[in-house]
Amino acid sequence: MTNLQLVALLVVALTGSATALTREPLRQAAVAGIFGLALAALFMLVQAPDVALSQIGVGGIALPAMILLALAKIREHGE
């Protein structure tokens, strides 16, 4: 394992923990997006560019967007 891969693993562990520890859903969506991009960097570094690209799409675009949209819908109903 190279040093770069080790660093990426640490960043994934840190951002993953940060995602779990963030209590406010709106902030959590943003932190989860950063966690997703960290995962993408890790996948790239272990020579899985296809998975890294998918991860950028899912973790960086689709997941945060769906969480934000769902949150907006929930708040709209709550008011």
Partner: protein, 250 residues
């Protein structure tokens, strides 16, 4: 059940989970060492059999394409479910005579300019990733998601009303249907012309060129349509109420 007993029960369950996990992890191959035969076999077979250099793409859209077909229909079913739920609720509220007003903050100038600046390049990147799916990493799924990112950027840039005016939902439904149906049609074409579902029926071409790899680039395109259509449909159903509210205000 008291909290103390519940905690004890959880500890027992976690220990039961941890023990086999530790045993399994201890038996793993060392980091970076690949033991299985399948990857090696595919690595040797794909370039000569399919004239394709993106081995992952060839595996996903040819050697285990039936799997991918199943995954595509999972996405179709999920998008359909979301759409039905969201439309059902809207119909209920409209029938009840409620005015749908959603808070939609005016986009600020930074979001507007950045969004407007990035929409075009992102669409080009999406098309590139889809079209080169059989040559370099990427493909229909990744490119389709990038196209959805472009749609979200357009929304962030405040072009929502423009999106509304073109009545996107029916077109998106058609797009998604073409995507899902296209893959199924590819499978049937293989069954009819070559004797096995999803078997290649197109000329393989010269490796490394855009028009090569037989049915693999076609599969990339239909999957991109399906993924982009499914996500864009759900997103636009989500955004529909907000847009409805805004139109009534103004």
């Amino acid at each position: 059940m008291t909290p103390a007993r519940r905690r004890a029960l959880v500890l027992v369950a976690l220990a039961g989970l941890a023990a086999p996990l530790v045993v399994a992890l201890a038996g793993l191959e060392p980091f970076g060492h690949y033991p299985g035969p399948y990857g090696d076999v595919l690595q040797r077979a794909i370039p000569s059999e399919r004239h394709v250099s993106a081995l992952v793409g060839a595996t996903v859209f040819d050697y285990r394409a039936v799997d991918t077909l199943g995954e595509e229909f999972i996405l179709l079913a999920a998008a359909l479910g979301c759409t039905v739920l969201l439309r059902g609720r809207r119909a209920e509220r409209e029938a009840a005579g409620e005015t749908v007003v959603a808070a939609r903050p005016e986009p600020d100038i930074a979001a507007q300019s950045l969004g407007a600046l990035l929409v075009g390049p992102l669409i080009v990147l999406a098309i590139y990733v889809v079209a080169h799916g059989h040559i370099s990493p990427g493909g229909g799924f990744q490119g389709g998601l990038l196209a959805v990112g472009a749609l979200l950027l357009a929304y962030a840039a405040g072009q929502a009303l423009a999106l509304r005016r073109v009545r996107a939902e029916p077109a998106l439904e058609v797009l998604e249907a073409i995507g899902a149906g296209g893959f199924a049609a590819l499978g049937l074409a293989g069954l009819v012309a070559a004797g096995a579902a999803l078997e290649n029926v197109l000329p393989l071409g010269t490796a490394g060129t855009l028009l090569s790899g037989g049915t693999i680039p076609v599969a990339n395109v239909v999957v991109a349509l399906e993924v982009a259509g499914a996500f864009a449909l759900v997103v636009s159903e989500f955004l529909d109420q907000a847009l409805l509210g805004r139109r009534q205000d103004g």
